[in-house]
C-alpha cells in the first residue's frame, strides 16, 4: 500500500487548514451549483461569476474531508481569472490526472496554456482509488455551475 505521505502532501494540508476563496457570491449575477458525495456526505457549493468569457470570481462553500476541501480550494485558485475554455480544459486535465477519461473523448488537446500548478499535489490520490471521488467532487460541481444559464 502506498504511504500516506503520497496522499497528505503538505500543500494539501495547507489548503485544508486555510481554504482559499471560501464564501458566497450573490446569485444572480453569479451562478451556483451544489455537489454531494453520497458515500461520505461531503458537500461542495461552487459560486461562479462569469463576465463575458472570463471567470472573474469564484467562491466555495461546503464541508468535507481534507481531500475534497483542499481540491476545491486549489481549484478556485486555479480557475479565477481564466477564460471558460481554459477552465474546461483544466477540468479535463485534472480528471485525466485522476485517471478519468473524458466521456466525449474527442481526443482534442486542451485549448490554451493551462497549468495544474498546486493541483499536481493531488496526483497521489490516484493511488487511493476510494478517494478519487473526494478529489473530483469540486470539479464535477464546477462543471454543473458552468452549465447553468447565467
Amino acid at each position: 500500500m502506498p504511504g500516506l505521505e503520497d496522499l497528505y502532501r503538505e500543500i494539501i494540508l495547507d489548503h485544508y487548514r486555510s481554504p482559499r476563496n471560501r464564501g458566497e457570491l450573490p446569485t444572480p449575477p453569479a451562478v451556483v451549483a451544489q455537489g454531494h458525495n453520497p458515500l461520505c456526505g461531503d458537500e461542495i457549493t461552487v459560486y461562479l461569476q462569469v463576465d463575458g468569457d472570463t471567470v472573474s470570481d469564484v467562491k466555495v462553500g461546503g464541508q468535507g474531508c481534507s481531500i475534497s476541501q483542499s481540491s476545491a480550494s486549489m481549484m478556485s485558485q486555479a480557475i479565477k481569472g481564466h477564460s471558460l475554455d481554459e477552465v474546461r480544459a483544466l477540468v479535463k486535465r485534472f480528471k485525466g490526472m485522476m485517471s478519468i477519461e473524458d466521456a466525449d473523448g474527442d481526443g482534442d488537446e486542451p485549448a490554451g496554456d493551462v497549468s495544474l500548478g498546486d493541483l499536481e499535489a493531488l496526483q497521489g490520490v490516484v493511488k487511493f482509488p476510494v478517494r478519487i471521488k473526494c478529489a473530483t467532487l469540486a470539479w464535477n460541481t464546477l462543471l454543473e455551475a458552468l452549465d447553468q444559464p447565467a
Binding site: 500516506l4 497528505y8 494540508l13 461520505c40 461531503d42 468535507g64 481531500i67
Partner: protein, 420 residues
C-alpha cells in the same frame, strides 16, 4: 424508560476460539493482521456457515416449492428448515410468521408499501424517530408522498436517547409507530416493549427495525408485543442477500402482496390472481435458496455461542473501548450516544479532534483497522448531530482487546499527520 436488554454476567466465550472459526480474519494485509471493526455494517462469516452453503450447493441445490423430484423436495425441506431455525431464534409463534426477504430494507418496504398502501390514507399519521436508518425513513416518505400521510418524529435527548416526554402527543391519532430497536449510529438500545405498548394503547401498529438488535441480543418477538419486525442475515454471520420480515400471522394474512410473480400465487387467471398463503405470498420469484441455508446455519452458530454470552462479550469489549479511548484522548474524542452500557450496544460513533471521519478512516486503514466513515444511512440524525459524517467502530463476537488497542494506537497516527 426501561430497556428490555439484560446485561448478563454469563461467562464470556473464548474469543480466540471464536475468531479462529472465521477464515477471513486470518487474512493479513501488508503482512499484518486485520482489525475488522465494521460489523454493524456487515459481519464476517464463520467456516460452518460457508461450509453449510457449499455443502447444500454441491449436494442438494434445486428449485423449491415447484418440482416433483426427490432432489427438489430435499431442497424445499432444507429451505423450510432454515425458516424454522430463524423463527425459533427470535421466538416467533410459527415458522410461517417469518418471510424471507432480500434484506431488512425489503422487509420494511413490505410493511410501508404493502401494509401501508392498504391501510393508510390522507391525513393519517406515521410516527418515526430521529435516529432511524434510511431503510426506516425512505419507504415511509414514499408512501407519505403518495397518500398524503403526516410523518412525525420522536426527538432525541442530548445524550442520544429517545426523548419520550412528548410521546403521547406524537402518538395522538397515529396509525403506525416504526422505530429501531438499536441505533446503528449511536448504539442506543431503545425500550422496545414500552414503545410497542404505547403504540397499541392508541391503536397504532408497532413496527420494529431490529436489524442492529437481533445479531447482538436475545430476541423474543412475542415478549416485545410488536406487530412487524425486520432483520437481516448478513449482520449476524450469515450471507448477504437474505433477510427476514416477521409479522403476526393474522397481520401477514391481511396484508396484500408486495412483489408479484412466481411462487407467490395460488392461481392466476386472465382476470386476476389469488395470492398464495403466507409466507410464500411475500416471496415472489426464486428466492435466495443457498443463502437461506446459510442464514439457518448462522442462527445455529449464534445459538450455540449463546446470545446472552454474545451480549456479555460486547458489553465487555465496548466498555473497554470507551475507557481506553477516553483515558487516552480525553476531550479530543467525542463519543456520540449513551456511554452507559446498560442501554447501548457495541456501536461506537465518534469525532476525533477536528479530523474529518474520512481522513480518520484513511489513516486507520494504513494500520489495518477497518471502520466505517460516513453518514451511516442516517442523514436526519447526522444533521441533528451537526456532522456531515462520523467515524464508527463496531464490535462483534470475534473482536478482542487487541482490536481496540490497535484502534487507539492508530488514532495517534492521525494526529501526527494532521499536526494536531
Amino acid at each position: 424508560m426501561t430497556v428490555d436488554v439484560t446485561t448478563p454476567t454469563a461467562p464470556v466465550f473464548d474469543t480466540a476460539a471464536v475468531k479462529a472459526q472465521f477464515p477471513l480474519l486470518r487474512r493479513t494485509i501488508d503482512g499484518a493482521p486485520l482489525h475488522y471493526l465494521d460489523s454493524a455494517n456487515t459481519s464476517q462469516k464463520p467456516r460452518c456457515v460457508i461450509d453449510a452453503m457449499t455443502r447444500f450447493t454441491e449436494t442438494s441445490y434445486a428449485p423449491i416449492n415447484r418440482s416433483a423430484y426427490r432432489l427438489a423436495a430435499e431442497a424445499t425441506d432444507a429451505y423450510e428448515a432454515a425458516r424454522a431455525n430463524v423463527a425459533r431464534f427470535v421466538n416467533a409463534r410459527h415458522p410461517d410468521e417469518i418471510v424471507f426477504t432480500k434484506n431488512a430494507t425489503e422487509a420494511l418496504n413490505i410493511v410501508a408499501q404493502a401494509w401501508g398502501r392498504a391501510n393508510l390514507g390522507p391525513g393519517d399519521v406515521v410516527v418515526l424517530t430521529h435516529m432511524e436508518h434510511h431503510a426506516n425513513v425512505v419507504p415511509w416518505h414514499i408512501i407519505a408522498a403518495e397518500r398524503g400521510i403526516e410523518l412525525r418524529w420522536i426527538p432525541l435527548t442530548e445524550d442520544g436517547r429517545l426523548d419520550l416526554t412528548t410521546l403521547p402527543q406524537l402518538l395522538d391519532g397515529a396509525k403506525v409507530l416504526s422505530f429501531a430497536a438499536m441505533s446503528n449510529v449511536l448504539g442506543t438500545l431503545n425500550p422496545v416493549t414500552e414503545l410497542c405498548a404505547a403504540a397499541h394503547d392508541v391503536g397504532a401498529l408497532a413496527v420494529v427495525d431490529a436489524c442492529q438488535y437481533v445479531p447482538h441480543n436475545v430476541t423474543d418477538l412475542q415478549a416485545w408485543g410488536a406487530d412487524f419486525a425486520a432483520f437481516s442475515s448478513h449482520k449476524m454471520c450469515g450471507p448477504s442477500g437474505i433477510g427476514a420480515l416477521w409479522g403476526r400471522a393474522e397481520l401477514l394474512d391481511a396484508t396484500p402482496p408486495f412483489l408479484g410473480g412466481g411462487n407467490m400465487i395460488s392461481d392466476v387467471r386472465l382476470d386476476g390472481f389469488t395470492p398464495a398463503p403466507v409466507p410464500a405470498k411475500f416471496e415472489a420469484g426464486t428466492p435466495p435458496i443457498s443463502q437461506a441455508i446459510g442464514f439457518g446455519a448462522a442462527v445455529d452458530f449464534m445459538s450455540a455461542l449463546g446470545m446472552d454470552a454474545v451480549r456479555a462479550h460486547e458489553v465487555e469489549i465496548t466498555e473497554y473501548a470507551l475507557t481506553t479511548l477516553q483515558d487516552r484522548y480525553g476531550d479530543d474524542i467525542t463519543i456520540h450516544g449513551p456511554t452507559d452500557m446498560a442501554d447501548r450496544g457495541g456501536v461506537l460513533s465518534f469525532a476525533f479532534r477536528d479530523l474529518h471521519p474520512h481522513d480518520v478512516s484513511q489513516v486507520l486503514d494504513q494500520h489495518n483497522v477497518c471502520i466505517r466513515a460516513g453518514h451511516h444511512c442516517a442523514k436526519p440524525l447526522m444533521r441533528l448531530l451537526g456532522a456531515a459524517a462520523t467515524a464508527r467502530a463496531s464490535f462483534y463476537i470475534y473482536n478482542d482487546r487487541d482490536d481496540v488497542d490497535a484502534l487507539a494506537d492508530a488514532l495517534a497516527g492521525a494526529s501526527d499527520i494532521f499536526g494536531l
